[in-house]
Point group: D2
Chain length 304, copies 4
């Protein structure tokens, strides 16, 4: 049995994502915000936390990035994604829909559906889609727009599904734990880093990308984030292909450590999509091993 | 008189920011979300729109970035920033605070204040801080946590101000209009671009940064954004120092145009902080003019 | 009729190369060394000079590079190559070869042939291969090893030809004139430059190559040459593909002009091998014209 | 006692340079050309060879570069430089100078002196300056222009010294041996490499320089050399600051090994000028050790 903190309340997309990767016997605890969920791991109340990091439509979850980069150290141990789709749900059998509750973000994404099907319904904004579903149970509203999972959770009936404008939208969540054992190399791994540059120097990002490029390491994600209280001072959150135990990744990390003011390792973990890096021959791990053996020979003065 | 669309509802931080840069005679119209505010400009209902683009604590506003990068073309004509601070407000004279309403984000940022001063108050979540203030007016709650500006707007009394944990937080807003005349060069300008790279090729960002570096153009902001529906396909929103009419900026833009699948120019406009770029001698506009004159001489076969 | 200075004496490879590109009516004047031949053009005594610049076996001709880079300005107007092959030559009918004269370089290259065929002949070193041939005419030696052309010139009989170890060796010569009209663009052009870097800064060459790379301009030749009297202070002589009138070449040259202490343009001229540059689409001249037109549109505020 | 091969004949600058670094008891053997001198080491006839590699006026010695890069493997064990100055020398007491013998290169460099002081003397070209001195001994010429050392060697009298136009000219010689023990790290070392690039790809040199740049390794010398019989196919001979046993140099070499078709290590040896590299903090050997220790910690999952 493992205890998991997650971004609540109960019935949200994060819980749905977490259910996909946990066992019946695990314990799941909702927290009011990302910081609270992560603090539950830091304090030892929970072993793991699942929080959203990026949504294909809404963008990054800044709080998650900042907690990982600047907060008390934690590492990512895994990732999972969930298609974000919205359902219209009511109490069983109710088709008389005069009021629809939902979170403003969800309302914005389902506006076309509402305008076409319920042009006269009153729209009530709630603080989360789960809260809207809960309100239907309690009789405050006739219907809620929420995650399909919320219908199961609150025993509501789904009247219409996939009603959002961007139904291909996907949210990526990261599973976070205390620093310690790193998930094993699988061949389709991702490594997450926070890179802090010292003075405001123009070429810093170019230098950072060059360190990756000379080792043939591809980036899959980059965000600049304000470091402190001033606008204009940034650090970078970067995802790269590969695992910290690989020669090429380790070599790149050492290069970054040398040129950055600080590098925080935020984890190596399997990609959910199982995509392996397309490494050029010149920067394959075999090429790294060959070069190390060759250098040893050269330093021994062997004729080569 | 100019008509401005803004991210509403009335009483939010965006309205406060807009009030700072408009005249009494201008007309301000709140819109329910960023897209709606920008569409008001696209359709000609309003001449300008003010929308948030980045917050020093919360990160970028993805909707704004995507609308500018992918939506029907608009350009940025100016920027303004606003310190985000929270006030506790009640009806005039009321000190009996048993319920406090606010948006969950604001609640998260003011938790320390609440725990210390109102440990027993009921916290009610609303869909915006303005909605909380409005609810106080209507008698639903005893107090609201909202922008200082909301107190003026709803004629409430400020009981405590600057009650957030991150009171240095700053939001940057952009003033947007239809493509047309570009604001004049001031010497302390910013240029915003959206860069689309073709195939998923690893070195694309390195190439892009190199184009800037060889012209000595500094970046002040970079975000990767998912281009479409798949995770992993990205474009970049980049802010650089300088104005599109400058030789060095124009030269960099032509370089980007050549290597990117698409470049969308999103405006050149004065920086609010009036910081001028620190351009090395080798990439000053004077150096560009000298080089152009020299090349003309060389091509004429003059002995030099 | 054109007057040509060349690296003499008469009967050398340079004269042979010059004969290939001149008309019967032209006047050819041998000079004792590269500097003297080039000074003949500088002073106006001759209109053109042909001097060797590079040999596939022996390497660059430093004097030629330095005269072009540092001497009173001249430009390259054309190039020609000549296979360097050696012949053994005697007076007509003489087969009694007891002494063989030649220049030490030629002796070194023909040692295998001599050892096999004339193991007992006395080898006499002369200051040029032409001088050896001349010595045969005057009866000082029985045979000479010299350019095939020298046999014609001195009316000697070729006893054996292609006797060198490196008979594929090729010398490239440049045709030099005073600065003025530049040979027209042909589509298979070469441009020669001398680049001077200011202080001894480590990354200078990297910056220079980056300026070429961002315009897709390929190098075909690079040599570092000591600039002055100290070892360790260098400038670079570089050949690139393309013609100074091309957008991409001009753009690269302006970039170099900005970052180098000095750039000396040493000519654009047709390649003898008629090899056209393999320009990526992104840095084709069409891409440059498109980018310039696009920038003009952007600066006009056109919606694009 | 060590046996040294050198570029002869006896009395040349190379012998003078060799005398500066050998003991009275050592044995010195002149060879007719660079290849022969190096072959004496390859075959075991001599333990070491001294050959010129670069002259500040005349440029590189292509034969030396090619033998090191392409010939049977040898390594550089040390370097020495010699100022190239010319003296006019005669038999003791002879001031009646009607003929002056010298090598054409020396004649070119002393032309100003001759024109001013001996305008009517006959100039006789010889195959080396030592041969000219020898000819004076044998009574063929009245005077010779040769290295000061030649006067001692042939017991001639120096009539005038430092008579060349470029008396600051310096020749650098390399001391070569069979592969084996590498000279120890001194803190002011030079490392020589031959780098072979595979297909004719435009960006190869840029990639090579980037490998050096990311490790903060400075180049002190670069020459492109034709690899085979075709013009246009090149390899590079590069001198860098530092010793192969240094972390930063080893790391750069491994990078080169990965991207080049072949890398030949040509030796690490003390610089004669004792100049130490100016290494940025970020690429100091200490930074390399720190980064390696940090990576080990990260891979152990330690909280850092």
């Amino acid at each position: 049995m493992t205890t998991y903190a997650y971004l609540g309340p109960s019935g949200t997309f994060t819980e749905a994502a977490l259910r996909n990767i946990t066992k019946e016997s695990d314990q799941l605890a909702p927290y009011a915000n990302v910081t609270a969920a992560l603090n539950a791991v830091r304090s030892g109340k929970c072993e793991r936390a699942l929080v959203p990091i990026e949504n294909s439509v809404e963008g990054v979850v800044a709080r998650t990035l900042d907690e990982l980069a600047i907060g008390e150290p934690l590492v990512v141990l895994g990732e999972t994604t969930l298609s974000v789709s919205f359902s219209l749900m009511t109490k069983q059998g109710n088709r008389n829909i005069k009021s629809i509750a939902t979170h403003p973000h969800a309302e914005a994404q389902c506006r076309t559906f509402i305008a076409k099907n319920y042009p006269d319904a009153e729209i009530v904004e709630t603080s989360s889609t789960a809260a809207a579903a809960h309100g239907v149970v309690e009789g405050h509203f006739d219907a809620a727009i929420a995650a399909p999972f919320a219908a199961e959770h609150y025993s509501l009936e789904v009247v219409a599904k996939n009603i959002g404008d961007n139904d291909g939208a996907v949210t990526r969540f990261v599973l976070v734990g205390k620093p310690g054992a790193i998930p094993e190399f699988t061949g389709h791994d991702r490594t997450t880093l926070a890179l802090f540059i010292g003075a405001d120097h123009a070429g810093a990002l170019l230098e950072i990308l060059t360190e990756f490029a000379v080792r043939g390491v591809n980036l899959t994600f980059i965000q600049s984030r304000p470091t402190g209280k001033e606008l204009g001072s940034y650090h970078f959150i970067i995802d790269i292909e590969g695992h910290v135990t690989e020669d090429r990744v380790g070599d790149a990390l050492m290069g970054l450590r040398r040129i950055c003011e600080d590098v925080r390792f935020l984890g190596s973990y399997p990609r959910e999509d199982k995509v392996a890096p397309t490494t050029p021959q010149a920067t394959s791990n075999a090429a790294f091993k060959d070069a190390a053996a060759w250098l040893a020979d050269v330093r021994q003065g062997r004729k080569i």
